[in-house]
Symmetry: C2
Subunit: 184 residues, 2 copies
């Protein structure tokens, strides 16, 4: 349910439109929970059904009309219930399609596997670059969310991201070295 509760978490900071929520999921949250725009709107509909959120329609002249969502007491209760759970089963269900490919890589030739790993290193570097830009936007983010204290935990996820992608690069380079040893 991370998407569901992620949306509740954002609405707990301040009222937002689906569009704004989507933008958060495509910036600060993107590297650890990518969500489709369509899924966010679908999830908002579900949250309305459960009465975890409510909404008001705001009519605008220069821009399209919008629905501003707000969290309800029931929603806040649900958010706290979820955040307080220390159950880790979800967290231990790590899934990595790249490793599935590597596991069976003996079927394909070594060059192709190396190219895949090199491409992966490039992608990871780009994620790190984007994240470094985001770190500088921390003040901006605080303003958009209207709170200061939250950035402490935001920093913790950012540090995670940097450590994670650096580790990925380290591993991929190690693999490439091993593969080079093998073909020579």
């Amino acid at each position: 349910m991370p998407l569901r509760h992620g949306i509740l978490g954002l609405l707990n900071y301040k009222d937002m439109t689906g569009y704004e929520i989507d933008r958060h999921f495509k910036s600060a949250i993107a590297f650890f929970w990518y969500a489709q725009t369509s899924q966010i709107y679908k999830e908002l509909a579900t949250l309305m059904k459960y009465e975890f959120v409510g909404c008001e329609i705001v009519y605008q002249e220069d821009k399209p009309n919008k629905k501003v969502f707000h969290i309800t007491d029931k929603g806040r209760l649900e958010l706290d219930r979820w955040l307080s759970k220390t159950d880790l089963t979800d967290m231990m269900k790590y899934k990595n399609p790249l490793l599935v490919k590597i596991f069976f890589a003996s079927e394909i030739d070594v060059d192709q596997t190396m190219r895949l790993l090199e491409k992966y290193i490039k992608e990871c570097s780009e994620v790190i670059e984007r994240m470094n830009e985001d770190v500088n936007k921390i003040g901006e983010y605080e303003k958009s969310i209207g709170r200061e204290n939250e950035s402490f935990y935001w920093g913790m996820t950012m540090t995670y991201g940097l450590m994670y992608y650096q580790n990925e690069i380290k591993w991929a380079n190690w693999c490439i070295d091993k593969l080079k040893e093998r073909i020579k």
Copy 2:
């Protein structure tokens, strides 16, 4: 599609029953692609429909009858097609429910967050322990799969697992230190 192609990958090594495939997904593959038993049987049905696999029923007296699956030429073609793709979009859709929780952790008290992180460290350590046991079973695995060369790539995923979970522990400890600084 990693589950689909994971099954094809295993059947490419040798013929297996759904039960055997399930056991592989719960041992060597478990830490990077956990699959429900029910989903494996469902996926096998889909693979039959596409004619990527075929099966024979083997009647047994002392044990329940079983269906032994084998990969078809069409299935082998599909496996190679998937393995050769160097598209990384799937790989970059990293999802981490723990980070979603940490991102919003300012809502709950610091002690609870620390307990969550400590529990996570424990779980990660256990995964590492289990993996270390598995490394010693490498010969056994080779026998069960009937090949030698494959364990090279299997080793690459094992190294990944060890690096990944060690990195997780490192990060979680860093977070706990930061939280301790904060409350004192």
